[in-house]
Symmetry: C2
Subunit: 366 residues, 2 copies
């Protein structure tokens, strides 16, 4: 459970929202909420910090405006549900908040919400407006990550030693904020965040984490929020370097970039999710040649891949020479490679040859 | 790692495959492998056992047959890779087996495999042909399940106490066969297998498993093989009843039916995966009325739902009166309900009201 202190702060902010409305009503003024603009026009790349962040633009959402009245009402409803979560010290999902706040307005056929597409953006509005991470609002994302390595956590009073969980590991909860999850001890030298479960399994089975003294994390695809936050916390609190291992395709580059500087859609969260010092350890488009992967285990880039790769070339966070070479090399070869393709050499090529050489040669891009 | 003994058995079977080929060659006969037929025509529902199982039909795959020669060669290649896994005591994924066995045949432009669609069915052929569970062939599926509760496992020499892993839990590996994973102790009264992570999280957070002394499992959707096998093992070895909690839609019914009697596609695995005594605890189409869920949190059945529900009505495993009523009630109402919709009443309605009443009333279908 969140400590009273933390909960209190967020609850106060939520109650403040309602107070402002009451105050305006008492003064016979139009109740208005100020919400930062979450559109592309208000997103910029902060070169110095190395993160994608939001600008300063805000917009007002007021009750006495026909175009905004429904959204205003929805904002207050969601705020109320979020305050309920704080008071009861509960967490829930986006979907359950939609259901919780959905009802038919008395004497009408009008629903407060017709679909989750209406409630999700309001939760994001409140995250930004109240400067509270979604996790602090007690809203969970899906689980789906796993961790193993020389790391001791405390979860709900239990001491979880991630070096003593066999090959299975600890299932990373969606909310890993202190005090929900405490990092009690971590003696690792670095963190390896792997895109896919298959390679994570290979490394767990071969006890790669033990030999190379690292924390192994996977999100089974695009890492969910809990995995990103745990990585960020370990990076920040334990000063551990972070290496990201993904497929060699535009999607892999994108996953890496989200870990590193955040995403455009959730720019307001980069400040507490992004890891600007994260390094891309592979698969690089240089690897097939360097490690002798045959062309027949490459997969032809399709039109979507090519378009996406060309888009990436224009992002300021891929502007460095190394990245331009990396992406252009993929385009020139016309091929993408999955991490799984390393098995073509040997089932243990990843843990016995590829990663050891990468780490020894410091062969990564940052 | 698998014990030498177990590995030995499967390895012997795989080597036997090669021996038969050599023997045939020495006798100047056509090397032939006998493979059980895995088509719908060879699948039947065993009413007595309550599982979907395969019939007795087999087909021969021979080398001196132009139509079969490539598939024969592929079978031997996959068999060889599987034997390599046994010898090295490694596990891997379907995808990596595809990459491992893919190469261009000397002096030709012909690949041994052009896509994973060619290697996957061969692995299934070998599973059936050798009567070895995929896990015994050391082939992993994805991870993706989580368990919590009064259960102690042993994984790779580590003692994993699933009652001391906070709200996160143990990430269920794809292979939970003894000796990979040993069930050391389980004092639970029953197993609750939940479709979605959200509800699992709710129950973990509320320590539902502690209050009701049960093992909580989720597969985040259709449960992956590891979750099904662990459930089956706990059911069988610890004689624990299994309750399945899914959304009230045709997909939820289907998930339940796969847990209970297996699937048509993988009929050959029912014998060791299915749990004929598994009970459907909800959401039932009777629940919205019984628990006062408003119609506006129901979702209109689409054409696909309706077609699917009508198909289910014709399956022999849904032929009982209770099931006919259950499915027809959904069709009549024209609505489906997600478990998440229970949050409309209260964020903790699931753990404080719904499940306690279900368990007390023994309100389930089997």
């Amino acid at each position: 459970m969140a400590s009273k202190k933390n909960s209190g702060n967020v609850e106060k902010k939520l109650v403040g929202l309602a107070d402002a409305v009451i105050e305006a009503a008492q003064k016979k003024k139009d109740p208005t909420i100020e919400i930062p603009v979450r559109s592309l026009s208000n997103v910029k790349f902060n070169e110095k910090k190395g993160i994608i962040e939001m600008g300063e633009n805000t917009q007002e959402r007021s009750f006495f405006n026909v175009a905004m009245a429904k959204k205003f009402m929805q904002t207050i409803l969601v705020g109320d549900a979020l305050a309920e979560l704080q008071r009861a010290e509960l967490t829930t999902s986006l979907r359950e908040i939609y259901y919780r706040t959905k009802h038919t307005i008395a004497d009408s056929n009008e629903n407060t919400f017709d679909s989750q597409d209406e409630s999700d953006p309001i939760i994001e509005d409140l995250e930004v407006g109240l400067a509270a991470l979604r996790e602090e609002l007690h809203v969970r994302a899906e689980n789906g990550g796993t961790v193993i390595g020389p790391l001791v956590l405390e979860d709900d009073g239990d001491r979880v030693d991630c070096s003593k969980l066999g090959k299975g590991g600890y299932s990373v909860p969606s909310i890993v904020e202190d005090p929900y999850v405490k990092i009690k001890k971590c003696s690792a030298d670095f963190i390896l965040l792997v895109e896919k479960g298959t390679q994570w399994n290979r490394m767990a089975e071969d006890k790669f984490w033990k030999k190379y003294n690292c924390v192994l994390l996977t999100g089974n695809g695009q890492p969910p929020r809990g995995v990103r936050r745990l990585t960020r916390r370990l990076h920040e609190e334990k000063r551990l370097p972070v290496y990201v291992l993904v497929d060699n395709d535009p999607w892999g580059y994108y996953i890496y970039s989200v870990v590193k500087q955040g995403s455009i859609n959730l720019a307001f969260e980069s400040q507490r999710m992004a890891i600007p010092a994260a390094k891309f350890i592979g698969l690089s488009s240089a690897d097939p040649e360097r490690y002798g992967l045959p062309r027949n285990v490459g997969i032809k880039l399709n039109d979507k891949d090519t378009t996406r790769a060309k888009e990436l070339l224009n992002y300021p966070w891929f502007a460095s020479k190394k990245w331009q070479v990396e992406i252009k090399r993929m385009l020139t070869s016309g091929l993408k490679y999955e991490l799984d393709a390393l098995a073509n050499k040997d089932f243990q090529y990843l843990t016995k040859k590829y990663l050891p050489k990468k780490l020894q040669d410091k062969d990564w891009i940052d």
